[in-house]
Symmetry: C2
Subunit: 185 residues, 2 copies
């Protein structure tokens, strides 16, 4: 199946933005997608809308790459640790530059930008997963634990993304300590 013009634009946006940042030009996006500017603006109101749509398109792959299957029989503690194992593995890839949703929000510096809103929403879903597992696992303060876990997720992926830390021997002990302190055994 040949990808549609829309699909090629979304793929180019997601790939080039991750590699080069949100400042990537419309010309470069169109060139990578093999699409005219006219076609881009027929499908998307602006580069910002294309970027927002490309992040949204990626959301299910993001969740699938991190979250355990629903009702997989694992305990909440194991399901939380699973996410961080996935992150550690993904961070080992040579082209890993950290969490794309955090990067987009840091780069845009505008929480009202459509792409910032989409990115915020996707990460809020990950926080909600942590919150729900924390509660099921009997955390003394599920809200606090969820905030701690998404903080560790963002801190770890950012530091791995800039090459400041390879995460080896770091995430599992950190998350384990927080789970223990919250009483999630």
């Amino acid at each position: 199946m040949k990808p549609t013009t829309r699909e090629r634009l979304l793929e180019a946006a997601v790939t080039l933005t991750y590699r080069d940042g949100v400042g990537i030009g419309v010309e470069a996006l169109c060139k990578a997608a093999g699409v005219s500017k006219r076609s881009l603006y027929q499908l998307f109101e602006s580069k910002g809308e294309l970027l927002a749509a490309s992040l949204g398109e990626r959301a299910s792959a993001f969740a699938a790459g991190l979250l355990p299957a629903a009702d997989d029989g694992r305990s909440p503690r194991e399901r939380i640790l699973y996410v961080f194992d996935q992150l550690e593995e993904q961070a080992g890839a040579p082209d890993f530059q950290g969490c794309r949703y955090l990067a987009v929000q840091i780069e845009l510096k505008d929480q009202t930008h459509p792409a910032s809103r989409v990115a915020h929403e996707i990460k809020a879903n990950l926080t909600a997963f942590f919150r729900s597992e924390a509660e099921r696992g009997g955390a003394s303060n599920p809200d606090l634990l969820a905030r701690q876990l998404i903080l560790v997720f963002d801190g770890a992926s950012a530091r791995a993304g800039i090459g400041a830390d390879n995460l080896t021997g770091l995430i599992a002990p950190t998350v384990t300590t927080l789970l223990d302190a919250a009483g999630v055994h």
Copy 2:
């Protein structure tokens, strides 16, 4: 004392890059500094070199705003918590956009860029502070604790910078839990 051309350029670079990102143009920098492009290129080889110099110039203010005075009589545990109190306070400012050194590295996506190198070095100094206090405080694994603390620092400042968390009631319990687990009392 009137600031020199160099000082005005450094100030413009540090301010505009923080507000708008590393993609800020040379024209905008020169305009904000009230300086000609010719003057900029007489003082700095490139925009990248100006950016690197502006980050380096800021390093002592960054340290002064976060670190406790040397030999202030506080315990290592208190000295570590002091840094995070400062971060929490700074994160409450309306123009807070997270740690500028993390942002620059995420935005540049090039660890060999002169500004990335400077930013990396400045954060490595903060990690070294944590490492040294962890050791003085008798941490079971000072290297691990230092990596955990800088991870929390980056995660917390990034999440506050994008408006995803206000950090209230988050950092102190998180750092306390990590200090306790490391045996730093």
